[in-house]
Amino acid sequence: MYFCGIDIGSLTTKVVIIDEEDIVGYRFTKSGINPRGIILNLYEDTIRDCGIDKRDVRFITATGYGRNVATAFFADEKVTEITCHAKGVRKIFPDCHTVIDIGGQDSKAMRLDENGRVRSFAMNDKCAAGSGRFLEVMANALGINIEDMGSLSLKSKNRVAISSTCTVFAESEVVSLIAAEKDKEDIIAGLHDAIATRVSGLAKNVGIEDEVVMTGGVAKNVGMVRSFERKIGHTIYIPPEPLITGALGAALISREKFLDRKSREL
């Protein structure tokens, strides 16, 4: 028996397949403008990777911004990314009490209770500040790859203070800093600090308690993680693949729902 979780985010769509014990396979790709096609292709590809029969996948749960599209033609159930992230993170870090997730278009902080249930959460408002998109725009302005931002920022000797958190204003601030011949590394470190300040406000709202885990694409940026650690004064743990915790949580929920349904039928 296999169970599937699919997380359709604003930038990336992720699929995770689990069996009764653990992860069997996963894949992710850009979300694009044809959600149905992308969901189906990604699902089929993952199934092929795992070498399993589609008919053995018993339950599919969708999460993320595209969860409604997915349930309309494909998934059995939808659950919000907040619940899914909590579930996925707890599977990897059983002692986690705080989750900070930074995705393409939003950032959120969740506080979990002893049983891994979401006790409170906070999300950013209608604004790109503190999101993956913010970093993409800045990488573009600096003429570097987003993947290199983390390691570059670690070389910073004089972190620059970025005063704007508005994406557009921060971009023009970066352009002025480049014109003032500031080091790229220092500017990037400053950008990370700006996001860390913004998002740690969310985390403080829900209350920070160890262990703190960071998920979402931005968690792959080591400089960003260090900025956060400095800001909140806690060690931050990162899952082996921080992109897929939401989809993993959805897959775990699939398994629970299926087993629950089966036990009720008996």
Partner: protein, 374 residues
């Protein structure tokens, strides 16, 4: 179209009754606050209504006020500046919050009003304040009498108080049907009725509501197993937001909105001399406004105790706070309120701004529901 839309919401949306009163030569006065002593306006033979802003595209207002002020004021002014309130003869504002005070002069200057009056509320509530507010209300009465050349007799005041007390009692009855363990009416429908109550003469509204409540009592409860939620906030007239929340598996069973329970949570004691009775009545209202409180009690504590009472009565599983980014009074109080209430009950805080970002609200409310259901 359901019964509530037909009987009530049209009255608000199309201003059908207001047009009718205007046609028969009655003068209409608009207000910005549930704390407005409408009985005095009513007793003068005028029609008191509440001003709301329906437009969401802000075209005119940003050239008059800053874009960060409270959405209620901004939306009201936009509609006013666009000429949607041309039927008003005047406005009455109350010093109940930091927005209503400047609104009084901005409206008078920029939108225009033949008659404009600012009623001054006391800050602390005690016997001295009741005497003070009685004088203030007498002054307000005289101002209306002079401007509109009418005599507001004690008898007329007593009749108006009776009408308004009946209105408040009926609205409490309606809220009880919503608060029941098997709610008979949704919060979005209740809000439509509240908006109608602000858009027509209370004697007509009372008859309409009494008939509707009788029907509602006979009707089947809304058939669902939703989680029960208390909604906290200031002035909310946007039905869509409540519909979004309800669509996520939530029954809103109590509130402390000024377009909700704050409007009718008190009674005016008819045994006092009428103006004093109004002064005592409005000042007895528990936390109807955020700037005054019983002496020796912090306004924030007063508000918290009101919310706790409501939550206890309704058996709510959680509280959704609708925060207005442009409300400085809320901004001062909300972090503490969230912390205090959060000790006993799950809290979801929603930043409210228009136009509504429906999908973002849905994600938050659905996640809240999931966290309560476990």
């Amino acid at each position: 179209m359901n019964e509530v839309d037909e009987k009530f919401y049209e009255t608000y949306g199309k201003k059908t009754k207001i047009r009718e009163y205007q046609g028969s030569g009655k003068k209409i006065l608009g207000s910005f606050c549930s704390y407005t002593p409408e009985e005095i306006i009513h007793a003068a033979g005028l029609v008191p209504i509440r001003i709301f802003g329906e437009r969401t595209d802000m075209e005119e207002v940003n050239t008059h006020v800053s874009s960060w002020i409270c959405y209620y004021a901004r939306r009201c002014l936009e509609d006013g500046l666009q000429g949607d309130y041309e039927f008003l003869d005047g406005i009455v504002s109350v010093t109940s919050d930091d927005t209503n005070m400047p609104m009084y002069s901005i409206w008078k200057k920029e939108v225009g009003a033949n008659y404009a009056y600012l009623v001054q509320l006391p800050f602390a509530i005690n016997e001295t304040a009741i005497k003070f507010y009685t004088k203030i209300l007498k002054k307000f009465k005289r101002s209306l009498e002079e401007f509109y050349s009418v005599k507001i007799t004690d008898q007329r005041l007593k009749d108006s108080i009776k009408t308004y007390n009946r209105s408040r009692a009926l609205l409490r009855e309606l809220y009880d049907l919503r608060m029941s363990m098997s709610p008979k009416i949704s919060a979005s429908d209740t809000l439509k009725i509240m908006l109608a109550s602000y858009s027509m003469l209370k004697e007509e509204f009372n008859d309409l509501l009494e008939g509707y409540i009788a029907d509602l009592k006979e009707s089947e409860p809304l058939n669902d197993e939703k989680i029960r939620v208390h909604v906290s906030g200031t002035v909310l007239h946007d039905v869509e937001l409540l519909e979004i929340i309800e669509g996520c598996g939530v029954d809103i069973v109590s509130d402390d909105l000024c377009t909700g329970s704050r409007y009718f949570s008190f009674n005016v004691d008819e045994t006092y001399e009428p103006i004093e009775a109004l002064s005592r009545g409005y000042l007895s209202s528990k936390t109807t406004c955020m700037t005054c409180s019983r002496q020796g009690v912090y306004p924030l504590d007063e508000r918290l105790s009101y919310i706790r009472d409501q939550v206890k009565a309704s058996g709510a599983d959680g509280v959704i706070i609708l925060g207005d980014k442009g409300c400085d009074l809320c901004a001062y109080g909300l972090p503490t309120m969230r912390k205090e209430l959060g000790k006993d009950i799950p809290i979801l805080y929603l930043d409210v701004d228009f136009p509504l970002a429906a999908e973002q609200y849905k994600t938050r409310v659905e996640a809240f529901v999931e966290s309560i259901k476990g």
